[in-house]
């Protein structure tokens, strides 16, 4: 394992948590569908994607614990941090809504993840590169799955078109956050660990535009993008997610399960 030396442990830990938190929260949201999907085959597909995402989070948290060097494991990160210490994208924590809302949220993040993990698989941090290479196979499949649903719904019936267009309009305010960067990102880029997120946008745009065109959907505009997830400014939804997610560890602290 060669961790980049020209970045401090704290920054790399923080970066890994940003990645892991988005995976876990999105996986958690998807798992809420289990048993309630529109058709059995789709129930199984969504569970598979949720399992991939939870798996990614576990790898990233475990590695974050190693980098941090303070003895924290995957469960410490997942169950013992309060809202403002979470660093996931706001998009990931949005409620499931109807199937259209879930698939739009998924598709927007899947497209981002494909570009992100493609780049991270070439990271100078070999451990992160290995996690990214594994994740890339998964998110490539996720994008194919969600992209096809966007097309089916957009170019399906009047009702499905209306629902998916509305979901797209509702979620578009969270898109800019995907590509937003701060000082931490600059340090990550400088150390060759991860990409400049802004540089991922053209590829993301062209993928999304291609699918929206085939789906006969209109790309929304937004004047007031929302952001702040990566630095702990979340929507109210996250607190409710955590009160479920962390219930056992909070109610019965320090026990083995």
């Amino acid at each position: 394992m060669t961790t980049a030396t020209d970045i401090d442990r704290k920054s790399l830990t923080e970066y890994l948590l940003r990645l892991g938190d988005t995976s876990l929260i999105l996986g958690h949201r998807l798992s809420e569908w289990c048993g309630h999907g529109p058709v059995l085959e789709e129930d199984i597909a969504m569970s598979n994607i949720a399992l991939d995402l939870i798996g990614q989070a576990r790898l990233l948290y475990t590695y974050a614990g190693t980098v941090e060097g303070e003895g924290r494991d995957e469960d410490d990160f997942a169950f013992k941090r309060d809202v403002t210490d979470w660093k996931n994208l706001l998009l990931a924590e949005q409620p499931n809504g109807d199937f259209a809302a879930t698939m739009v949220r998924q598709f927007l993040i899947d497209c981002f993840n494909v570009e992100l993990y493609t780049s991270l698989s070439k990271s100078t941090d070999t451990e992160l590169a290995a996690i990214a290479a594994k994740s890339l196979k998964e998110v490539t499949y996720h994008r194919r799955h969600s992209g096809e649903w966007i097309i089916r719904m957009g170019d399906g019936t009047d009702e499905s078109h209306r629902r998916v267009q509305r979901a797209l309009d509702d979620h578009w305010i969270f898109v800019d956050e995907l590509f937003e960067t701060d000082a931490l990102d600059a340090a990550i880029v400088a150390a060759g660990i991860g990409p400049d997120l802004k540089s991922l946008r053209p590829a993301w745009d062209s993928m999304v535009d291609r699918v929206l065109a085939e789906a006969t959907l209109t790309r929304p505009q937004t004047d007031f993008p929302r952001s702040g997830g990566r630095t702990g400014s979340h929507s109210e939804y996250l607190g409710f997610i955590l009160s479920d997610l962390q219930f056992m560890q909070r109610a019965y602290p320090g026990m083995e399960w």
Binding site: V39, E41, I44, N48, E148
Partner: protein, 97 residues
């Protein structure tokens, strides 16, 4: 919801468990087209890495022999024992045959 909502077509799924073997029928599922059938088959029938290749066939496209004509159809093969190698005597000591 009206009970009459239309049902997705039924697909029969065949999986090749590893290189060198033929595809084997594993079950069925429902999907709107071949693309979806393949994706669903991947999630339904290969969750434990049971396969490396998938065939999907819309069930209505499968033609089968008639069970009632099983006798005339298959029995005539019963007495063609000369099609099996054990039918033939080979002298002791002959190898590689």
């Amino acid at each position: 919801m009206p009970a009459s909502s239309r049902e997705w077509p039924l697909w029969e799924i065949f999986v090749r468990s590893r290189q060198g073997l033929s595809h084997k029928h594993v079950g069925s599922l429902r999907a709107v087209d071949a693309e979806m059938a393949i994706q669903n088959a991947r999630d339904v029938y290969t969750r434990r890495r049971e396969g490396e290749s998938i065939w999907v066939v819309e069930a209505s496209h499968i033609h089968a022999s008639q069970p009632e004509s099983r006798g005339p159809f298959f029995d005539p093969a019963d007495d063609k024992i000369y099609r099996h190698p054990t039918f033939y005597d080979v002298p002791d000591g002959v190898e590689n045959m």
